[in-house]
């Protein structure tokens, strides 16, 4: 399967990345991916989402 690099992903979106930023972005993105992998193994009690951020729960109308 074709893998895009961080630089390619951003340039496809029309975003020019500074040469010295590439390793920082790659490292940061890899850290996030590691957390994501761990997170996806964890249990979710609720698969709903909160696109609306209503403090105290959705009971407030």
């Amino acid at each position: 399967m074709m893998q895009w690099t961080v630089q390619e992903l951003l340039e496809k979106k029309g975003i020019h990345v500074k040469e010295e930023h590439i390793p920082i972005l790659e490292q940061r993105w890899e850290q996030m991916r590691q957390v994501r992998r761990k997170m996806r193994k964890g249990p979710f009690n609720d698969y709903d989402i909160s696109l609306r951020n209503i403090p105290g729960g959705d009971h407030i109308e």
Binding site: V6, L9, L10, K13, G14, I15, H16, V17, K18, H21, I24, L25, R28, W29, M32, V35, R36, M39, R40, G42, F44, N45, D46, Y47, D48, I49, S50, L51, N53, I54, P55, G56, G57, I60
Partner: protein, 475 residues
């Protein structure tokens, strides 16, 4: 007299103004003279608006003389963070891209403060577009912490934190997306309140991340914060996220300091894990002082907090990158390096990543709600580290190198994800003369409760009258 005046809180100044023992003009000039003098070292101001301020102060004096006293903030000079819109006045967001931006409307909070008689003295420095925690701004220069000018004041409302701490403004407003009111409040030894999400209208505030952004008071005392919230809160149909719930108001009246029987929750696994030893000592001492005043401390579990940093980061960078996408493709070189990287990172998560972060967020909210079935408030350090040196991206935490941004938002971010009210209150001065702050997190819409716990603690005089060295030198 003018030197004494600038050190006073709003609660001390209000009766003097009301009884016409001092004039608003005299106070405004004293505060602005002091601010001009100190700003060479602190760099808290992006601009001062002396002419407009003096004119408004004269009007306030006339109104008070005529018996039309509007309340606690009438005639009080205040500078605010430069991402709140003033109609017809340049509002920069601490950026190069918006350095000449003139809003054609006013932020709701600014309108409310203006109606309450506040005298606006200028716009305060901030981390560019509020997208950082150091206030090391490449366009207007770094802002310095008045307690130790080599160190950052925190951010993104660092100008507000530094200016209040250094008496360059009597009170201020900040905005908080991952801790940006509470972080500089902690770093600068002042009070900072992030209200419940939707309690205060965000209309006319340049967004960083819509679903996480809040506006909050930054003040010298808890009572000043309570007074400011009374003015700021309320439903605003112009802000789609504004909560249409009755305003509770009367926050000042409800500051009794009585916490007998209050149950304080402590979450050891997240909020007390990997904390600077000195910070931890101060916060545990504060907990003891609250117990001495009649509160009980209980351990609470909030398992999903382990994913809070991830959910916060994915949400904030994705929403911020959406806001800045066009400029990122056309004017990337006009952003500071750190902010540009932050927004570029936000282009990487997928829609699935973003929505999973919202699932986590819901779980974290539920876990907090369950915790608040057992306890009244949760107390934690505001920052796990002491404010780092200006220019540092890394710092050490108990001997281990850590990332400044990650650490500074680690303990404040959960209250943005959940929208719960959170107060940072100073609880001591650590090594290198750096203040330490403590967070009081409450259930949704219970600002009265977090303020009262903060007030009860403030009554124990935790700062023992300590002030930034810089001010002692000036005096």
């Amino acid at each position: 007299m003018s030197k004494e005046l600038v050190t006073k809180s709003v609660e001390e100044l209000a009766p003097l103004l009301k009884n016409r023992e001092i004039s608003s003009l005299e106070l405004t000039q004293a505060v602005m003279d002091h601010a001009e003098k100190l700003d060479k070292e602190i760099n808290a101001f992006i601009m001062m608006t002396r002419g407009r301020a003096e004119k408004a102060a004269r009007v306030a004096d006339e109104e008070i003389k005529a018996g039309y006293y509007r309340g606690m903030y009438h005639g009080i000079p205040m500078a605010v963070k430069d991402n709140l819109y003033f109609k017809g006045e340049v509002t920069t967001m601490g950026s190069k891209i918006n350095q000449n931006f003139i809003p054609h409307y006013e932020a709701t909070v600014i309108q409310k403060l203006r109606h309450a008689g506040v005298i606006f003295t200028g716009k305060l420095s901030m981390h560019e577009y509020a997208a950082g925690v150091t206030n090391n701004n490449p366009h207007c220069g770094p802002c310095h912490n008045p307690w130790n000018t080599k160190m950052v004041p925190g951010g993104s409302s660092g100008g507000s934190g530094a200016a209040v701490a250094a008496d360059m403004t009597v009170a201020s407003l900040g905005t908080d997306t991952a801790g940006s009111v509470r972080i500089p409040a902690s770093a600068c030894g002042i009070v900072g309140l992030k209200p419940t999400y939707g309690r205060v209208s965000k209309y006319g505030c340049f967004p960083l991340s819509w679903s996480l952004d809040h506006i909050g008071p930054m003040t010298k005392t808890v009572k000043d914060a309570a007074g400011l919230l009374e003015i700021m809160e309320g439903y605003d149909p112009l802000d789609s996220t504004s909560l249409n719930v009755p305003t509770t108001g009367n926050y000042i009246e409800r500051l009794t300091g009585d916490i007998e029987g209050l149950v304080i929750g402590v979450n050891e696994d997240y909020f007390f894990h990997h904390i600077d030893k000195e910070v931890e000592t101060f916060v545990r001492k504060a907990l003891q002082m609250l117990e001495d005043r009649g509160a009980k401390v209980e351990v609470v579990s909030i398992p999903s907090l382990q994913y809070a940093e991830y959910a916060e980061l994915v949400t904030i960078i994705s929403e911020a990158a959406t806001i800045h996408h066009r400029n990122l493709t056309k004017r990337a070189d006009d952003y500071g390096d750190d902010v540009r990287l932050f927004f570029e990172l936000g282009e990487l998560p997928s829609a699935v990543d973003f929505l999973e972060a919202q699932q986590l967020r819901r779980q974290i909210k539920k876990d907090f709600e369950q915790a608040f079935e057992k306890v009244d408030v949760i107390i934690a350090p505001t920052l796990p580290i002491l404010p780092p040196e200006i220019g540092a991206n890394k710092t050490t935490l108990n001997g281990k190198e850590v990332d400044v941004l990650d650490e500074m938002i680690r303990l404040t971010g959960p209250s943005n994800l959940t929208g719960l009210p959170s107060l940072s209150i100073p609880c001591g001065v650590a090594k290198d003369n750096l203040p330490v702050g403590m967070q009081v997190i409450g259930p949704a819409l219970r600002e009265d409760l977090v303020l009262n716990v903060g007030y009860a603690y403030e009554l124990t005089n935790p700062m023992e009258g300590k002030r930034p060295n810089l001010l002692t030198e000036v005096e």
